[in-house]
């Protein structure tokens, strides 16, 4: 069973000619089949965790370890991490002008699977997955993320999640900026992947709203660069009622 283990992870960024520590010792274990929600106020370091795990060059790991099935993730390049089974659904997916969605998806699937998917089954697979996400077939001919609405970008991320079938999926604020209909469609996509039982999900969110559609096994409250409290789904209800105030700076005593 695939396991992502994060131990005492410290991450810094360079800003204004100074080094700033954003993650201050994160411990977390995500196993295949589990869903972990990471919740926290803005600026608590949730997204930094997501990008650091994916290997974004802006973030420097200054301490700790991350392993996937015992393999050192931090030693891997960005593409190696993806091929090892990590997937990051981004909060702000990047436009890639001149590269069509269909070309991108196929190039990506070829890289992840280690061989080019057979054309006929691939076309069918993409088409059906897009239909389930309520995406127009014409979408495949558009350039990656170029001119996409917020909702289209998120559906496109989940489309990739469904096609690439990672071991560990990190969803960085996938719910932000979505209306209720889009949130439901996107959540259904995530749930289809979860129901396979083959993915461990790390759901990063600011709001409890998405947890009505995607039921977490564990909820972690992120504050000031580390996990301040962990619990079951009931912790989300507490946050819904009480907000993050208890976790404000120096107040992680809850």
């Amino acid at each position: 069973m695939a396991t992502l283990e994060i131990r005492d992870l410290h991450v810094t960024v360079e800003a204004d000619n100074a080094t700033k520590e954003i993650l201050k010792g994160v411990d977390l274990t995500v196993k295949q089949g589990e869903t972990h929600a990471i919740m926290g106020p803005n600026g608590s370091g949730k997204s930094t965790l997501a990008y650091a795990l994916a290997g974004h060059p802006k973030y420097t790991v200054s301490g700790g370890t991350v392993t996937l099935d015992g393999e050192d993730v931090l030693e891997m390049s960005v593409d190696e991490r993806a091929r090892a089974g990590l997937f990051l659904a981004m909060q702000y997916p990047v436009e890639v002008p001149g590269v069509s969605v269909s070309n991108f998806l196929r190039t990506s699937a070829t890289a992840i699977r280690g061989e080019a998917p057979k054309l006929r089954t691939w076309v069918k697979e993409v088409k059906e997955t897009m239909e389930r996400l309520h995406m127009d077939p014409a979408f495949a001919e558009r350039n990656v993320n170029e001119g996409f609405s917020g909702g289209e970008k998120k559906r496109h991320e989940i489309l990739q999640l469904e096609l690439l079938k990672p071991k560990i999926a990190i969803l960085d604020e996938t719910d932000s900026g979505l209306d209720v209909d889009a949130l439901r469609i996107v959540s259904e996509g995530v749930n289809r992947v979860r129901e396979s039982g083959e993915v461990g999900t790390l759901l990063i969110t600011h709001y409890t709203r998405i947890l009505r559609y995607i039921k977490p096994d564990y909820v972690h409250v992120f504050a000031d660069g580390r996990i301040a409290e962990s619990g079951g789904a009931e912790l989300a209800d507490k946050l819904e009622n009480e907000g993050y105030e208890a976790y404000a700076k120096g107040g992680a005593s809850a």
Binding site: A82, G98, N103, F104, S108, A111
Partner: protein
């Protein structure tokens, strides 16, 4: 550090959109007078090289060009060697291909040389080639002109003329090694449609300086695709003017500037009659030490050119340190009674966020870079419309990328 210079100048302070209606005011004229398309050349256009002083390099039209690498084209020391450059024309039936003397009345109609090297070429050529597509002749196959350098110097003159309502695609393919100065004229009759693809696929040492003049008839459309890969120094000067209303010009360009290469494209669209359109889009990628791309985009909308619709754009993708881009769009507007006028210029480093996004989907870095650069050029490659040329360009881009990331 890569240097990226963008110095847009404009007759209007707020360029990029249409100027206020009826704004032919003294204000705009005062701004334009500082540096106008017409006045900032060091001498007025002329067919005679003696009318142009030998440039010293500080002139506006020469300030980006390394004169010492022109191998004498600018100062009269480059002597034509007869067999220096061979030109072969392959034309479908119905096209007239002629070699004519200097006194042929069909030469020089599309425009005069505007700088010393173009005038030198006009003063020095012995024979010109004239390719004529008779009126109402619609070609289904391209006319192919192969210009192959065999190591010598040459001064060329070519005229491509389309009669009224004729339609043709012309591919001019420059290969080999040469020191070449040339004038190419495109004369479009009323309602004619001409697509010209000029490919500069020279060997590393070649020097190529050319002025392209298009004169677009009433309701005619002209599409120019300039593709520059090779050469030590390539300096092209595509120019467009209109002979009647309703004309359309599309000027597209792609260049891939490698270490040590100087590739300069200087465009002028002269909106000299009302109700004409122009669209300019040039894109370049640069890599390696002292790769230098220059793009000058001049668009002039004369006072009488009401109803003009024009847009010009230049984008550069800097792939490595050590490359330099000078991109200067220049829009001069003498009438406010126009449909639209805008320009854009951007020079950017390879986008690390795009790279991260693609790599985060498992795509190895080199493949990701290839995807992005191919994507950058794709919209222009698709404009060519000649399949074997499109394929060759894609292959060429791959080859260039192989050198940079492979």
């Amino acid at each position: 550090m890569a240097e990226a210079q963008n110095s847009p100048t404009s007759g209007f302070a707020a360029a990029g959109g249409p100027p206020p209606v009826g704004s032919t005011t003294a204000g705009s004229i005062a701004v334009a007078a500082e540096s106008t398309v017409a006045t900032r050349m060091s001498a007025p256009p002329s067919f005679d090289v003696a009318d142009f002083p030998v440039p010293h390099g500080r002139e506006e039209e020469w300030r980006f060009t390394p004169l010492e690498r022109l191998r004498g084209l600018h100062d009269g020391t480059a002597v034509a060697t007869g067999e220096g450059v061979k030109t072969a024309v392959e034309a479908p039936e119905g096209v007239r291909v002629e070699v004519v003397g200097r006194d042929d009345a069909r030469l020089g109609r599309a425009g005069k040389p505007v700088d010393r090297v173009a005038a030198q070429a006009y003063s020095a050529f012995e024979q010109a080639s004239v390719v004529t597509v008779p009126k109402e002749t619609v070609l289904t196959e391209p006319i192919r002109i192969a210009v192959h350098g065999e190591g010598g110097a040459a001064y060329n003159h070519q005229v491509i003329e389309l009669g009224a309502f004729a339609e043709a695609v012309v591919v001019i393919d420059h290969t080999g090694d040469a020191v070449l100065a040339a004038n190419v004229e495109y004369v479009l009759g009323d309602g004619a449609k001409l697509t010209v693809v000029s490919i500069q696929d020279w060997d590393d040492k070649a020097v190529h300086v050319a002025q392209h003049n298009a004169l677009i008839g009433r309701d005619a459309s002209f599409k120019s695709v300039v593709v520059t890969f090779g050469g030590d120094l390539v300096r092209l000067h595509p120019r467009v003017a209109y002979a009647g209303t309703g004309g359309e010009a599309e000027l597209f360009g792609l260049y891939f500037t490698d270490a040590g290469q100087h590739q300069e494209h200087r465009l002028l669209v002269d909106h000299n009659v009302p109700h004409c359109k122009s669209n300019v889009a040039y894109k370049g990628a640069l890599q390696g030490d002292d790769a230098h791309a220059v793009w000058i985009g001049d668009v002039l909308i004369q006072a009488k050119a009401e109803g003009t619709d024009t847009y010009e754009m230049n984008r550069n993708l800097v792939l490595t340190d050590g490359a330099r881009v000078d991109s200067v769009p220049n829009l001069e507007i003498e009438t406010g009674e126009i449909v639209g006028a805008g320009h854009a210029s951007a020079t950017g480093r390879f986008d690390d966020e795009q790279l991260f996004y693609l790599m985060a989907r498992g795509i190895p870095e080199q493949d990701a870079r290839r995807l992005v650069v191919r994507g950058f050029f794709a919209e222009l490659v698709q404009q060519i419309g000649v399949q074997d040329i499109e394929e060759r360009l894609i292959a060429k881009i791959e080859e260039e990328l192989e050198a940079s990331v492979g």
